[in-house]
């Protein structure tokens, strides 16, 4: 399976995503420049984390208008998988591939920490290798991660099983505030209605090797492979 990783000016997790795919997963990956118009035959597109265009105007707003995004949106409309991580989630929302928006953390602070998540839907093509309601740990590193949408959109997301990851209390710690950014309904990751676009603030690509902590992110990438093999 070939992964296309888009590099925008200001992306800084493109290399992490490449290493996760090539070294940890053992699949092919190619970098796609934001000015390109060719996905080079990629099966899966990753919109990586970072600060594309310096977060000017709004996080992800300018990147969503990059030339390559035309092809990414067409790929998504054809049902092709797209993973937006952190800034990539913000870009996917701005490009209207996903509903809602990511706003400044309620604390007004940039938060960089491992965080506990609950897998709310283990039947998507991105989460088939997790168990339903499984608690996992992934790193987060963002200042604008407060997921927001109107009540109607939130109800729809929950009703259709589109909420994939939620921030959850760590069972080993007394946590009054386990939601790191004030996201509505503790939402950390969602899929599109068709299920082929995933957006999430936590970084699965930074949690794929035991040397770097719990490799809970690897199953996300493995899920995509199993889906194809099945």
């Amino acid at each position: 399976m070939k992964f296309g990783i888009v590099t925008f000016p200001g992306s800084n997790c493109d290399y992490d995503a490449y290493r996760a795919v090539v070294d940890a997963l053992g699949e092919d990956a190619v970098y796609l420049w934001h000015k390109d118009h060719d996905l080079q035959g990629s099966d899966v597109i990753i919109l990586p984390g970072g600060f594309s265009y310096g977060d000017y105007l709004r996080a992800g707003a300018i990147a969503a208008l990059s030339p390559i995004m035309n092809e990414v949106v067409q790929h998504a409309r054809r049902g092709g998988p797209v993973i937006g991580i952190c800034n990539g989630f913000q870009i996917a929302c701005e490009a209207r591939l996903l509903p809602g928006a990511l706003l400044r953390n309620a604390s007004l602070k940039f938060v960089c920490a491992p965080i506990t998540l609950r897998v709310e839907n283990a039947s998507t093509r991105f989460t088939g290798s997790y168990r339903e309601q499984q608690l996992i740990t992934l790193p987060i590193a963002h200042g604008d991660g407060r997921y927001s949408a109107d009540e109607e959109a939130l109800d729809r997301l929950e009703g259709e099983g589109q909420v994939v990851f939620r921030y959850a209390p760590d069972p080993l710690q007394a946590a009054e505030s386990y939601n790191p950014n004030g996201s509505m309904r503790d939402i950390a990751g969602i899929v599109s209605r068709e299920g082929n676009v995933l957006g999430m603030m936590p970084h699965p690509e930074r949690a794929v090797e035991p040397a770097l902590g719990r490799p809970d992110g690897l199953a996300l990438f493995e899920s995509l492979l199993q889906r194809v093999a099945a």
Binding site: L57, A61, L103, A106, G182
Partner: protein
């Protein structure tokens, strides 16, 4: 064609949590402005453009707001002023 300067206010949608506005409001109360009820922190943009007239300039700016300058999910915009530059 005439040159126009259009001033735009973009503010967080009412009812959405606005932690920045709240922090500024708290700071103002610390300074002694006890009557401050709320502050909304947004953006002020000035677009300079060529247009056939003031109405056309306003129409074009409105479309810019809808398509890029304001996020329709979380922000409201207001065209505050259209002036010949």
């Amino acid at each position: 064609m005439t040159r126009f300067r259009v001033a735009i206010h973009v503010v967080p949608r009412r009812g959405l949590l606005d932690p920045q506005g709240k922090a500024v409001a708290d700071a103002l109360r610390t300074l002694g402005f006890a009557g401050v009820e709320a502050v909304h922190v947004g953006r002020h943009l000035v677009v300079e453009l060529e247009a056939a007239g003031a109405d056309a300039a306003r129409r074009a700016t409105r479309e810019m707001c809808e398509r890029l300058l304001a996020n329709p999910v979380t922000e409201d915009f207001h065209i505050a002023d259209v002036a010949q530059a």
